[in-house]
């Protein structure tokens, strides 16, 4: 009996000792990242960084709601996704840890390693709150077979709004396929409006949608659907315009690098290409959005080891892992050092499209996808409503955009 007890105690002590050595770190992210993240964690983190076990928690609900609730309850995971779109809201809770001190102390990473625009995007009041994990921007995806079939030249970097509209009109061949799948979606439309010269807000801080530039953008953006050469994804019967493209129901769509993995999975032999969004006139301005998500850490992470948490963030954004992610075609890395990756020299359509997306972010006119104090919901909601009305023929561009401006002014006024 005594022998048994001794053995038992030994095991218990060993187990305790072991438990003290390994720190469990919870990482919660978008559920769509599950396959990639589980792969990455198994390859590069768990069992590689000593004393750390990272557990992946996919979040299927509204991620911002998840973050706010768990921060409020003190049960937030050790590592959070912070989407630029709502980063400011989360930082305002005061419960997100600035990372500057960790970066300053780190021998591996310094602020100069990060692509400046991405680092600036996550900087509030001079403090950096998240390290960008990847980024994306919009490009034109086009179906080569359809353009060949109709004898229309492919869209290219020299296209202007006018030539692009003309090409789409010529390639459209309903009911077999539409020239484009375009939705009343502010995130796709606003880059064009910005390119036309619309400011984010007027100088007096009111909504800019009643300016001529905004109306010009809206007129062009909705012209495709009004002319019947483009259809919304709902009209085509799919969930988003990328799906219409994959199903070969639209010759063109405006999407980001996130379209590449679904093409690879659902229609791998699709004959497609990608190019920049058209410019307003020959050699004229272009617009684009920069979408990015970063890793952040709550103040007092529940594991109690902010140093280890930062170590994981640092590892996940290291050039090694980022190269791996890039080559698996999932996302575009956020490290300066990867700009010359050999991956970008490949000639298959997936690598070429990735390269185009990557280059598009570097073009002048690209702005971060964030809405400051106005609130993305307010800003985009007003625009979406106007675009819907115009596309459905329920209002003219003039009426709808003026109404959108009033709508947003009311919300800002509160």
């Amino acid at each position: 009996m005594r022998k048994f007890l001794v053995v038992f105690c030994l095991i218990a002590v060993a187990a305790l000792g072991f438990a003290q050595e390994t720190v469990t770190i919870r990482l919660a992210g978008y559920s769509a990242d599950t396959p990639l993240m589980q792969d990455v964690l198994a390859r590069f983190v768990n069992g590689v960084i000593p004393g750390v076990q990272v557990v992946w928690e996919p979040i299927t609900e509204d991620y911002l709601a998840f973050v706010l609730r768990t921060l409020s309850a003190g049960t937030a995971p050790d590592i959070l996704y912070i989407d630029l779109y709502w980063a400011k809201t989360v930082v305002e809770t005061g419960l997100i840890q600035p990372l500057d001190d960790f970066i300053a102390a780190s021998p591996i990473i310094s602020r100069e390693d990060l692509i400046p625009v991405l680092a600036d995007a996550f900087t509030f009041d001079g403090k950096l709150y998240a390290i960008s994990k990847d980024f994306n921007s919009l490009v034109v995806f086009y179906n080569k077979d359809m353009f060949d079939a109709m004898g229309v030249p492919y869209p290219n970097a020299d296209d202007t709004w006018a030539t692009f509209l003309d090409k789409i009109a010529r390639v459209s061949n309903p009911p077999d396929w539409y020239g484009a799948s375009i939705n009343p979606d502010a995130a796709r439309f606003l880059p064009f409006a910005f390119a036309a010269g619309m400011p984010f807000l007027k100088e007096d801080g009111t909504a800019p949608f009643d300016l001529p530039a905004a109306k010009m953008g809206a007129d062009w953006y909705t012209a495709f659907n009004r002319a019947g050469i483009a259809a919304t994804s709902a009209d085509i019967g799919v969930g988003w315009s990328g799906a219409a493209f994959i199903a070969e129901k639209a010759a063109v769509c405006f999407e980001g690098g996130w379209l590449i993995p679904p093409i690879r999975n659902e229609n791998p032999t699709l004959n497609f290409g990608a190019t920049y969004l058209p410019s307003v006139w020959q050699g004229g301005p272009r617009g684009n959005y920069l979408f990015t998500v970063g890793y952040g850490m709550p103040v007092n992470p529940p594991s109690g080891r902010p140093d280890l948490v930062f170590k994981v963030i640092e590892t996940l954004t290291s050039p090694e892992i980022q190269t791996y992610i890039l080559e698996s075609g999932h996302a575009i890395p956020s490290r300066q050092a990867l700009l010359d990756s050999p991956f970008f020299q490949q000639q298959d359509p997936f690598a070429l499209a990735t390269k185009t997306v990557f280059e598009a972010t570097g073009l002048p006119g690209t702005v971060p996808f964030s809405f400051g104090d106005v609130g993305g919901g307010n800003y985009m909601g007003a625009v979406n409503e106007a675009l819907t009305l115009i596309m459905q023929g329920e209002a003219t561009v003039e009426e709808a955009m003026n109404a959108a401006a009033d709508n947003l002014d009311q919300k800002i006024g509160q």
């Binding site: 509204d62 709601a65 706010l68 409020s72 809201t89």
Partner: protein, 364 residues
Amino acid sequence: MKRKGDGVAAFLFLLPLLFTLTIAFLYAFVRTVYFSFTDYNLFKITEFVGLRNYLSLFKEQFFVLGLIHSLVYAGIVTASQTFLALLLAIVANQKIRGLTFFRAAYYVPSIASSVAITTIFIWLVNRRGTVNWLLELLVQYWPLIVAALGITALAQALQVVWERRHGLPVRALDPVLLGISFLVGSVAAVILGRTGLIQPNSGVEVAIPWLTTRKTFLGIPLPLLSIMMLNIWTTTPTMMILFLAGLQDIPRELYEVADIDGASPWQKLRFVTVPALRPVMFLVITLGLIGTIQMFDQAAITAGIAPLESVITLAYYVYWAVFGAGTLPKVGMASAAALVLAALTLAVVLLQRKLGFSEKGWYS
């Protein structure tokens, strides 16, 4: 009948109930009132802001829309389901065998979760869904339907004249004859359609986006109208069963006396049926109002599919302002709105008590 120790025993027996009531209702209610005067957002130190929440509430688009939607929704749904249920109950007011079966069938949508029923409904009202298909059929076969109705009217007229000639007491819309006439009309229309004498409309396409639209009908957003249809569909039969029970309690003799006194069917409805149904009527109306003015589930479920402006209700606003707005939680605003909701509920309860249907009247 007071015994010693009853109070202590009662307290012990009631302890769990009192615990819940105190924490989850009383304390919660007091705190809601308190929050409604602060700018609490779950994170920062709370500051007292006086009546600011209440004032900005009525300037907030989503709250105003939610309040209007809730009231309109409650009014229309309660009125329609009460009317329809009464109508159906009067039609079905007979000694019915197998009532248990029908009752079982009618309760089925009520026992399934609102999420499941709403999910099926969203599928049915899809742009390319079955509801639009049925409407399309309706439009296509409209000429045949008109023909069927016309022949029904003709057959009814002939039958009524014939019966009256034979000295039989039938009224113009006698339900028995109407049933026969309708059968004749339908059969005739089918024959006309089959022989090609009447062609259905062709080339019509019905693709109403019931949920994914900002369109309105008579000032009511189409998505909200769809939810109204859903609610009327699921609750009318239950209410009908209530009316039917009430109708069958009315002594037959009352109607016979009315017949002898020369009452028209309308007068019988007005002076016999409706007064006798008053208690049931108020039960149906109060249950309807309470259930509809608090509508949350359907709004929350469709909110991701329909535009928020078109489906938001008062109850959903209270949730949305905290967890859905994409900003820091607006607890103060939500609390103020919650109190408006509580006040509306209280108004319905008080109204029902004032009208004399206290728990004695309609509960037991």
